[in-house]
Amino acid sequence: MFDLDRWREIFQSINKNRLRSVMSGFTVAFAILLFTLLFGVVSGLSNFFKDAFADDAQNSMFVRVWKTTKPYKGLQLGRRIQLRNNDFDYVTDEYASKIQYQSARIYKNFNLKYKNNADSYSVRAVHPDHQFLEKTVIEEGRYLNARDLKERSKVIVIGRLIKRDLFGEKPALMKRLNVNGISYLIVGIFSDDGGDNEERLAYIPVTTAQMLYGNNDYISQINLGYDPNLSLDAAITFGNRLEKDLRNKLNIHPDDQSALSVRNMAEANQNVGQFMFVLYFIVIIVGSGTLIAGIIGISNIMIFVIKERTKEFGIRKAIGAKPSSIVTMVVLESVIITTIAGYLGLTLGTVLLKAEWLREVLEEYFIKDPDVSPGIVMGATIVLILAGLIAGYLPAKKAANIKPIVALRAD
């Protein structure tokens, strides 16, 4: 039953009483605007945290060693712990089913030289799996492979920025690079999302490094990628057990965090998850608060508006308006105003969140790509429309049932 005349009546009333309409709309628009911004900011925070951990694989674990800080089994504190190949193999053997990727790391610092260009760079000696643990992206050529390791080849994969530093625009692939006086073949060039430092690195086979630099079986660190099918809890348990087993194997006090530790992304993920949970909890509270304030605002204004219009209702009734037609008129007015105002608030909020200058400011506060899901805002708007409906209905019903003679006397 679309009644054009009724809508004409309502739009005239809204349009001719602009101040009143704008006033009632303002509260709603403001509430929705705040709501939009709030959710935008939180989604931005969440994006920032997701990004911050995007550099390395989400399921990575590092086994790191340093000096003992607790005496254990007659051994003194201050003892320097050294990981060896057999520790690496021990991990492989014991935990194969829980591990997706595994790589050793040896940290080196070498002078890299091509023709007249030379500089000092960090070089990591690793296994092929390291590519996936570090999310290394091959731009040209290839990464290290099993054959390189087996043959202890003198091959090197260099970062995009090393290539730029030493080769400029000229091709670098399959060129020979002087690494502290030893000639290596460049087999690959890579990029990495982790920032400039991650792209001023070079990778060589772990076996080559062990043979050429000390002829030992030392490794600096073991990097793991746990099976991504493990739950966060299972992954954390795995990390704790690995830590315990390795401390036991290396005669380290079970609580000596400094001597050997396993840094587990699962724990970080869990912390981030908890942090986001708390954040969303706060947002839900603040968001509902904003909405409730909006609802109270509309209700108050509607009560005021209806009081102001009591006489008009009296006149309308004296000339034949049924109470229901007055209630319908007021409720529809209220709903139209809240809908339009809600839409304006939403649009303004979305436009603001997309504004470049605001994004730049927000980025400094760890808020990245703020955005609101339309679903949430639609939900909020619907709540406000319902509120407008109720806020309009109750006082309108009361006003519509006032005896016309009383209503006419009102002023």
Binding site: I319, G320, S324, I405
Partner: protein, 230 residues
């Protein structure tokens, strides 16, 4: 048209109640032109409001167009008002944000007439009260007399059986008073029942029957010279 028997009305005032109408008997036939006179507070408006279904009585019987008015809910009352009654108030009671034409057309909206038709009819009635040129003006751009004529056009536009006017000239000067009374006379000549409250003798004398009210009872009810002249 209007038949009232032993009508009583009291207003509650705190714990007490103020007995305003104390047994009114009144019979107004179709086509009559009646005025009610009486000092302020004698209950004139109360009576008119009850007749106009704007208020309800406590005791007695009231028949409008042969129908007993009893246990009226607001909806039924609204329909009857729209169908049978037209109101003219002392304070005009025009809707301020609507033009003269829209004010006159509003009762037809509640009757369910379409927009084009009701604007046409409303304009005819504005012409009848001599305000065709003012159709698109808002009430605050009109003089008191003009506003009252708009209100009369609005009261007439549904072709009611009875026009009820509560001191329609109370806020007007003597020349505009005359023009408003002339209008009411014309309406009555067309056969409409007109029921008007006034406390001005000159106004009452232009009607055909004067009912005098004092302290809630009718003290006299007689036809005027104007009636005898017809």
């Amino acid at each position: 048209m209007i038949e009232i028997k032993k009508l009583h009305k009291s207003y509650p005032i705190g714990k007490d109640s103020l007995h305003v109408l104390k047994g009114i008997d009144l019979h107004i036939k179709e086509g009559e032109f009646v005025s009610i006179m009486g000092s302020s507070g004698s209950g004139k408006s109360t009576l008119l409001n009850i007749v106009g279904l704007l208020d309800v009585h406590d005791e007695g019987e009231y028949y409008l167009n042969g129908q007993l008015i009893k246990d009226m809910n607001e909806k039924k009352a609204a329909i009857l008002r729209n169908k049978f009654l037209g109101f003219v108030f002392q304070s005009f009671n025009l809707i301020s944000y609507k033009t003269a034409l829209e004010n006159v057309a509003l009762p037809l909206y509640y009757k369910g007439m379409n927009r084009k038709e009701r604007l046409k009819v409303a304009l005819e009635y504005l012409e009848k009260v001599g305000l065709k040129e003012w159709a698109n003006h808002l009430p605050n751009e009109l003089s008191g007399g003009q506003k009252q004529r708009v209100a009369i056009a609005r009261a007439l536009v549904t072709k009611p059986k009875v026009v009820l006017a509560d001191e329609p000239t109370g806020a007007l000067d003597s020349t505009t008073t005359d023009s408003v009374m002339d209008l009411l006379k014309d309406i009555n000549d067309e056969g409409m029942t007109v029921f008007v409250i006034t406390h001005e003798e000159e106004v009452a004398e232009q009607t055909k029957r004067i009912v005098r009210l004092k302290d809630g009872v009718i003290i006299s009810d007689e036809y005027t010279k104007a009636a005898k002249a017809v």
